[in-house]
Subunit: 438 residues, 2 copies
């Protein structure tokens, strides 16, 4: 993409309304624009990051055997009355009246609707296990939306729903998601720790939140230090195998958010030198809730003996739009964002230090054409801005690499490559730069 | 994908509520489920088709130089009051009251919001031309939603918005979209004819609807026969060149929907043997509306002379979810859907005629593994259903090819390949089948 033809509205001033660093950087780097309280438009580079995160989540869900569907944003209130949640949910639910005086709502989550879909079609245990997921915009009418996309009102969530014949099956489905979540977050450059959590309005008796440690995190968390370094399963992990041993290796170590923290247990179970007390950001949560929805909604299947039983369910959420903020909270410096490569808006920034200089232009055009042909996402800064302004812009938006091309280097036949994360700079021949980045 | 682990809820009965063939087939083939009047959930194969259409639209928009963003579904009413559309829009706009008594609305289109984004950041003509688009769910509270996704209330639309310094620039932007639309629809297997149209609530003085001819089309259309066979620009078309000559070659031939049809002109301009009167389905519409939004919203840029001028605008919509229905209307038979390859849920159905027969299973598993490794989307029917039921299912869901594997063929070392569109069957060796489809 040529920057001269792109839409990258960066801001020089720090927006006064933004209280946390990710919100400030998302506004300054032109990732988002607020359209109403807690409602954002995603500008071009913000959109690119959002899509890359979404795609990683999708790939890991598919790998774990979940099947993608897409439920609508608006839901009929009748479904929520069947489960009793319409009254229970409270003022965070956006309730609407349409022209025919029906009362749809903007879905904050989809347990009720997906259970309706399931019961409409599935009759036999032979269709199980089944895990249906979607990636769709949700709405929660937060009383004080703040922290940008970290606590917005309209937000993008991946939510998956598992259906099993019995508790043992539900446990296996839960474990698949537990592993898929660790993998998805790791691919985004995040170390997450699953922590026992309260089940809240989803209900049920087992839940883990996936927490990213960050100094600016919203909540206090407590865990065993060994959880920070435990390896995450490889791409080749067999999701049909029993993952219980893997999951137990983690769940037997103490990890809890302040909501459920038990100081006495923490001190008795975790040796003093292994006690981690830190700030964390929740980026996903998984629930086993059994028959909470299948009983009131009569989502039953015939078992092997022909008898009908209500299915055992779980639900599994990832805050896709929230992750954009969470990754920035975990990865930035004074100059701006430092994107992990898999979620960066572009693989690299190609910076032309002297637009209009024939030799510099030619070198840049050559690199741009070849890198693009190699299917690299390149943001080519072909604007007339001064070098200092260009450096500031590209540090701010945080692509992992900057390839800097100017007349002085070209006299020696070299360009400069700068690693955004480390700040390390290296002189390379044009050919070496191509080999490195193509 | 193994069908035994998939979620493909086909129906035997024809749903009584569906009045048109695409709606019937989408329900029967398990593409969608109605959740409320005009509001649908997309089931797995429907979702796959929707995503393929979306991706074709995205690629052609990007090729034409448009830049993708993502605006929220809910919009503040203040923006619509600035342009006077809040009162003008009528009861199709879904107006909401949130917990703070603010009045957001569920966006039916985004001219107002994108103009707000533009004016917030762009000050100079040097940033032009600019075309911003998004692919997002919209809502129109149709009084009588019907025909399935063809006239739903919640629907997926691609909408693009161009910003230019002057009318000449706006015309060039309009032409780019005109060409991009022809290309996108052709890639989906559709022949579309751009027809002069009324501008309706978007406003402006130039508009074309893109119409697919189909016997079951919703509206009467009239055009010159030569428009049916005109070639569409190749992938290599230069969107920076002046496309006016190409566009005029089409626009000088008569083509109009019944809304603006002029029978006298039709008869005087079109020779009798070239007059086509047919039914059509609108799948996209483009508008040039000049300063209709930029004047009230003060979206101005400094021109080369330093004077501020309101930008000249256009907007460009494609009904992404509607296209799923339109393609089916244009391509089906008694047995079911006939997908054009680029939008088919899977490239082929692999049908195991005798699950449990060791040799048949082995041949299927081998084909499935190799085709999947070649990155083909294969739906492998490994269920216990009888052959007749399998044939009916795969004809109904309409993947372009069926590769049919059974013990009798395997004794001779062959499998059968059936072309869904023509019904032609061919016996092939396993190796030839691999070469054909991998």
């Amino acid at each position: 993409m040529r920057l001269s033809r792109y839409f990258l509205p960066t801001l020089k001033e720090t927006p006064a309304e933004a209280q946390i660093v990710s919100h400030r950087l998302m506004l300054r780097a032109g990732l988002i624009r607020q359209e109403a309280a807690g409602i954002y438009a995603w500008l071009p580079i913000g959109f690119r990051v959002l899509k890359k995160i979404e795609q990683i989540v999708r790939e890991e869900m598919n790998r774990a055997g979940a099947i993608e569907i897409l439920m609508p944003t608006l839901q009929p209130s009748e479904l929520w009355k069947e489960t009793g949640r319409y009254d229970a949910y409270g003022p965070e639910m956006l309730r609407i009246t349409d022209r025919h005086e029906r009362e749809p709502l903007y879905g904050p989550t989809n347990e009720d609707m997906v259970t309706e879909i399931f019961r409409a079609y599935v009759r036999s245990y032979r269709a199980l296990p089944l895990n249906l997921y979607h990636i769709q915009w949700k709405f929660r009418d937060e009383i004080r939306p703040r922290f940008g996309v970290m606590r917005g009102r309209e937000f993008l969530m991946k939510d998956a729903y598992s259906f099993d014949l019995d508790k043992e099956g539900a446990r296996r489905s839960y474990n698949k998601m537990y592993v898929a979540y660790l993998r998805a977050f790791q691919r985004m450059g995040l170390t997450t720790i699953p922590m026992r959590a309260e089940t809240g309005p989803i209900g049920g008796d087992l839940s883990h939140e996936f927490i990213v440690l960050a100094d600016t995190g919203e909540s206090q968390v407590f865990c065993h230090k060994d959880l920070l370094d435990m390896p995450v399963p490889e791409e080749t992990v067999d999701f049909d195998s029993d993952l219980e041993a893997f999951v137990q290796q983690r769940t037997r170590l103490y990890a809890a958010t302040s909501d459920v923290h038990d100081a006495a247990r923490f001190e008795s179970e975790v040796p003093e030198d292994k006690r981690v007390t830190a700030r964390g950001i929740e980026v996903g949560q998984i629930f086993y809730f059994g028959t909470k929805y299948s009983v009131p909604m009569k989502a039953v299947v015939a078992g092997p003996d022909g008898k009908e039983v209500p299915i055992e369910g779980g639900s599994y959420g990832i805050g896709v739009s929230r992750l954009v903020g969470a990754i920035i909270e975990a990865s930035h410096d004074e100059a701006g964002i430092i994107w992990p490569s898999p979620v960066a808006p572009f693989d690299l920034s190609l910076i032309n230090l002297k637009k209009g200089d024939a030799k510099t232009d030619a070198a840049c055009e050559g690199l741009y054409a070849k890198l693009t042909a190699a299917r690299k996402d390149v943001l080519y800064d072909d604007t007339d801005d001064r070098p200092g302004a260009k450096f500031a812009t590209h540090d701010l938006i945080g692509n992992p690499w900057q390839v800097i091309v100017g007349p002085r280097g070209l006299e020696k036949g070299t360009v400069e490559a700068k690693n955004r994360a480390t700040g390390a700079r290296e002189e390379l021949s044009l050919e070496a730069a191509l080999n490195r980045f193509a």
